[in-house]
């Protein structure tokens, strides 16, 4: 019982009755209907489901890139469902680290400068930035490539730069949207091992994927279908 209480106290994300609809003309098209989800600090959650089930929309809402049409989203004890654009930008900068399928590194910046970018928007002191960015790149195993441009790196290396960038502001959650979608199996394994390592360090990770073997790295699986959660379980995927 003690453990459950601790879990309650350390919840990072609480979604209550979240709904999201798009409008085509005056026609309402519901994408998410009544999502209720609590994610505890230090958990590794995969979100799966067939395409069109609303994975990306849920991801955007969880990542504070988009606001829900209705419902409440409490992130680290703070309601973010009604935040303004600038407040959301601030929240993204402090609370969320993104890892995208297509890496989304800025091609004109070196690995180091890409990792420094969130700290510029986060008002981190200049002399602290390089130190922190270098440390992050070393942690993902790219300590010898900090001055390489993205074009000079393999997909796996680029994704590791992106992970370093996601971690550098020490966010509450790491959002990984199909992080291995563009990678070969070897790089996939390397990247997923970094996520496992982060999980073991106590980071909260949310992973959107449609590949079972990638999802199997996670400890909890949330499966969406038709805009609502159809399954939510721990342990091995059936």
């Amino acid at each position: 019982m003690m453990g459950a209480d601790n879990m309650e106290a350390k919840e990072v994300i609480r979604l209550e009755h979240i709904g999201k609809s798009y409008y085509i003309g005056k026609q309402e098209v519901p994408v998410l209907t009544d999502i209720n989800l609590v994610i505890a600090k230090g958990d590794f959650v995969s979100i799966m489901g067939p395409s069109g089930a609303g994975k990306s929309t849920l991801m955007n809402i969880l990542g504070c890139l988009d606001r829900p049409t209705r419902g409440s989203y409490i992130l680290n004890g703070k309601e973010v469902a009604n935040q303004t654009d600038d407040e959301l930008a601030y929240t993204r900068n402090r609370e969320i680290g993104f890892v995208f399928q297509s890496f989304n590194l800025l091609p004109k910046l070196s690995a180091l400068d890409n990792v420094i970018l969130p700290m510029i928007y986060g008002n981190v002191f200049r002399n602290e930035r390089v130190e922190r960015a270098t440390k992050m790149l070393e942690m993902v195993g790219l300590g010898n490539r900090i001055n390489h441009m993205p074009a000079e790196m393999s997909g796996g290396q680029r994704q590791r730069v992106a992970i370093a960038r996601a971690l550098v502001n020490d966010p509450s959650i790491i959002m990984a949207d199909e992080p291995t979608g563009n990678l070969d199996s070897k790089s996939t394994r390397e990247v997923m091992e970094i996520f496992s390592h982060l999980y073991s360090m106590g980071k909260t990770i949310i992973l959107v994927t449609h590949e079972d073997d990638v999802a199997s790295y996670a400890s909890r699986h949330v499966i969406l279908s038709d805009g609502h959660i159809s399954q939510d379980f721990r342990g091995a995927l059936s």
Binding site: G63, R92, K108, P118, Y121, N123, N169
Partner: protein, 404 residues
């Protein structure tokens, strides 16, 4: 805390440097605009200072009286076509107050001959006073004597252009020339005066008496020139001369003058306002090219926003606010236009310095167009940067991230 403006400048700068060609093309419009403004306005000022120095070299404290045009029934004749000014008028004007020097003048264009060479030039019949008013000095030879003046001797003082065309490199003094088939002795060569409105060295001066009676065979004069040491007295003299001549020519109050009085001060003012208009006109043309350059910046910035949609999405996902994106893009366009402006100033000043070396025109670089066009280019960067910057800053991060 760090300053997001400093960061934006750094980011804008690295974006400019990493897209050198795009930045240069963007700057090109501003460079051309700014340099055109500076070069053209310097050229305008150059024309103006030329005109001013020309007029003051003619003497800025002069009044010229010429006969009016025939005002009778039928066609109105050209100015100066009447024969209403006489030597007696000259003698009467001489007695007016405030006047330093007065000189009558007659002139006509003749073909002047030396052996097998001939040259079309204007022969003036002048007095010693005229030589003094016009500040004509001799390079070699001598002026005519009073005796030669009174005896209507056929002696001539010639300008440099005439000398070159009739004598080549030979010294003309002491040589004979023929004007209107009459033999004249060259007694002097004028110091070169250069151009002001016309070639000031393409002239021949002979004694007034000789030209009026021996060459022209007339009794009237073509003009009377009055000078005064005192610039302020010029308009008073102008009034006095007008009244005197109206009385002498018995012109009733309702009739027009049969002569024209020209004040060189007025001429200077007229020319100044003309060249001012020219300068403004040139400046306007150049300003239009500056404006077109600004629109060029807007085009490139808009293209750049579209091209960098994904980058903007990434920046927003990483926590860039509307404000930070707009500042970055604005600083980018302002930096490009400021850099373009500075290069434009260098190019414009270079062209303005080059024109006098290649052509006979002068240019005057003044601070106003330099500062003005530079500020204008900064403002253009701001104004034409705002729309693309707003467009970039308002992009929805989700759409921007998925933009291909």
């Amino acid at each position: 805390m760090t300053n997001i403006y400093i960061e934006s400048v750094r980011m804008a700068w690295s974006s400019i440097v990493s897209n050198k060609l795009r930045s240069l093309l963007t700057m090109l419009g501003i460079i051309i605009g700014v340099s055109a403004v500076i070069a053209l306005v310097s050229f305008g000022y150059g024309v103006r200072s030329d005109v001013e120095s020309n007029i003051s070299s003619l003497g800025s404290n002069q009044i010229t009286i010429i006969p009016g045009s025939d005002n009778g029934p039928g066609a109105r004749g050209a100015a100066g076509s009447m024969q209403s000014l006489t030597y007696k008028d000259y003698e009467a004007i001489k007695l007016l107050p405030n006047i330093d020097l007065v000189a009558p003048l007659v002139s006509k264009s003749y073909t002047v001959v030396n052996g097998n060479k001939n040259w079309q030039t204007t022969v003036y019949g002048a007095t010693d006073e005229y030589m003094e008013i016009s500040d004509l000095t001799l390079q070699s030879g001598r002026y005519w004597t009073d005796e030669e003046y009174n005896k209507r001797s056929r002696v001539a003082i010639i300008g440099q252009t005439v000398a070159t065309n009739l004598f080549g490199d030979e010294s003309p003094v002491g040589q004979k020339i023929r004007i209107n088939n009459q033999p004249f002795t060259v007694i002097g060569l004028l110091t070169a005066k250069g151009y002001s409105f016309m070639d000031q060295d393409d002239r021949i001066f002979c004694p007034f008496t000789t030209v009026q009676e021996r060459l022209l065979g007339i009794t009237y004069v073509n003009s009377i020139v009055v000078s005064s040491e005192n610039d302020d007295a010029l308009s008073q003299i102008q009034t006095d001369v007008t009244n005197l001549l109206r009385t002498r020519h018995r012109i009733s109050a309702k009739d027009d003058d049969d002569f024209t009085v020209r004040n060189s001060q007025e001429l200077l003012e007229t020319m100044e306002s003309t060249t001012q208009t020219l300068t403004i006109f040139l400046g306007c043309i150049a300003a239009i090219s500056l404006l077109v350059g600004g629109i060029g910046i807007m085009n490139i910035m808009l293209v750049s926003v579209t091209e960098r949609t994904r980058e903007i999405g990434v920046r927003k996902a990483l926590g860039a606010t509307y404000h930070m994106i707009i500042v970055q893009f604005l600083i980018e366009s302002v930096t490009v236009s400021v850099a373009g402006g500075l290069i434009g100033i260098l190019v414009g000043c270079g062209i303005a310095k080059l024109i006098p070396l290649v052509t006979s025109m002068t240019t005057v670089i003044s601070p106003l167009p330099v500062i003005g066009s530079f500020l204008f280019s900064v403002i253009i960067g701001l104004v034409f940067g705002i729309y693309p910057a707003r467009k970039a800053a308002r992009l929805n991060p989700i759409d921007a991230l998925h933009y291909e």
